[in-house]
Amino acid sequence: MNTPSDVGKQVLGPDDVRRAITRMAHEIIERNRGTADLALVGIQTGGVWVVEALAAEMLRIEAAEKCEPNPIVVGSVDASLYRDDIGMRPVSPGSVSDLTFTVEGVTVVLVDDVLYTGRTVRAAIDAIGDYGRPKAVQLAAIVDRGHRELPIRPDFVGKNLPTSAEESVSVTLNGVTITQGTNT
């Protein structure tokens, strides 16, 4: 249960978030030399809006350079059936995996709002693996708050934000807020 002891402190505003998304969109296109054979897959539920924002930005960038840019392939994955912790997370309603394209031979960019211990990402990689064998998997997160428990590192990061384990971090288009008290 989220029990913050006081109202959160906004550490980044909406403009900061928008600029980070723009930069990450450029980086993804640059690193992958375009958007072909590429798919953005949001980790349910926090990564879904980020995928929408990134995809919109990537399309705008491509459209500025080409007449008919390819649409950005997007999807989402629910990792709750793959978690390794003992009190496993319940499934959220409405967060069913949505991977309508083939994963085989595609570079999947996993997207989440906050990267923390890395366990959800590991579970998401396993989930993707059950759909097929991607050519590569890359990881994008708007905020990296540290405290990794697995050897997972992001390829694209919006902001590095050192936090303590007693804090919780929330990210939206309106900004990034740190609150005292944990989410779990």
Binding site: G118, R119, T120, T184
Partner: protein, 319 residues
């Protein structure tokens, strides 16, 4: 959520809606070429069936395996119980082998509750006597929700206005009791269609004594199995008469609307309650019921054994 699923009454409306939501996840898993997730890896589910039922047992076993759980089967014939090993001994012996959940089917109403007194292991009621069959009710609700595309979840939605007719031997049917209750929890109107001899002695449901009275005014037609034994107990004079008053005959099948869902918990007594080929009925969802059986049982197993009831439900963003 409680550690056991014994009846729809105990599950309640919120629990029922939650199971339907979780079933959507399981349905997605089932659509994959490799319909398997590691969610219950390391857990063991033991089917303890005191009554023969290959179909239900296979459904639970498949559900467990698709969640990567290990399964054990313990089919108890009446004779081994008569040799003096009591129900309690059987349960305690299996518990001592280290299982995480029992799936119990027993011919005596109430047996799963008695078992719950003797063990702290999760118990899933796969049917007790005449009394309850909660997973059947769940798969029935899931089937209707999917077929009618009604958005029912913990956030809302209902079967308001839906007219359901449940036909047949209500008195001896745990399916009738559980499925009727589930329909009503979600707002549907249920009418029982049955001769007085096949109704419970005291109840509060609306009843008609002839299928013709409702057949043109229903959205869901749920047929119950009519067993041969009922004839020898003088509950109906003859099965032929039963079919005439209550069976889905070709004549009646021609009169029901194409949109009407036709359901049956299986196995069917062809020629008795169902006197047409179900594949010829446009609204038959009988096959979907079977498929959905695996899906909802996966949801039940996951919710009881793998979902961490202490965690909050809504979007934790801890990665």
């Amino acid at each position: 959520m409680s550690r056991s699923l014994l009846s729809i009454t105990e599950l309640g409306e919120t629990g029922l809606r939650r199971m339907l939501d979780t079933s959507d996840h399981m349905a997605e898993v089932n659509r994959r070429p490799n319909p398997k997730v590691p969610a219950l890896r390391g857990k063991t589910v033991c089917n303890v069936f005191f009554e023969d039922s290959t179909r239900t047992r296979l459904s639970f076993e498949t559900a467990a395996k698709r969640l990567s759980a290990d399964t054990m089967n313990f089919s108890v014939s009446q004779s081994s119980l008569n040799k003096g090993e009591s129900l309690r001994d059987t349960v305690e012996t299996i518990a001592a082998m280290g299982v995480d959940a029992f799936v119990i089917r027993h011919g005596s109403s109430g047996a799963p509750w008695q078992i719950g007194e003797w063990t702290s292991i999760s118990v899933i009621n796969a049917g007790d006597g005449w009394h309850a069959h909660p997973t059947q009710a769940l798969l029935d609700m899931y089937t209707v929700r999917t077929a009618l595309n009604r958005p029912i979840s913990v956030d809302g939605g209902s079967f308001d206005g839906l007219r359901v007719a449940m036909v047949g031997d209500i008195k001896h049917s745990r399916v009738a009791r559980s499925t009727t209750e589930a329909f009503k929890l979600l707002g549907a109107n249920v009418t029982w269609v049955s001769p007085k001899t096949l109704l419970p002695p005291v109840h509060g449901e609306s009843v008609v004594a002839n299928l013709d009275e409702v057949i043109e005014d229903v959205d869901v037609l749920y047929l119950l199995r009519m067993q041969n034994e009922r004839m020898s107990e003088a509950l109906v004079p003859h099965l032929r008469e039963y079919t005439a008053r209550f069976g889905l005959t070709p004549e009646r099948a021609a009169r029901i609307g194409r949109h009407v869902l036709v359901m049956h918990p299986g196995p069917m007594n062809r020629g008795v309650e169902m006197a047409v080929d179900p594949s010829e009925l446009p609204g038959s969802v009988i096959n979907q019921q079977v498929t959905n059986g695996i899906i909802v049982r996966m949801a039940v197993l996951f919710e009881l054994l793998g979902s961490g009831s202490g965690n909050s439900l809504t979007g934790n963003t801890e990665s």
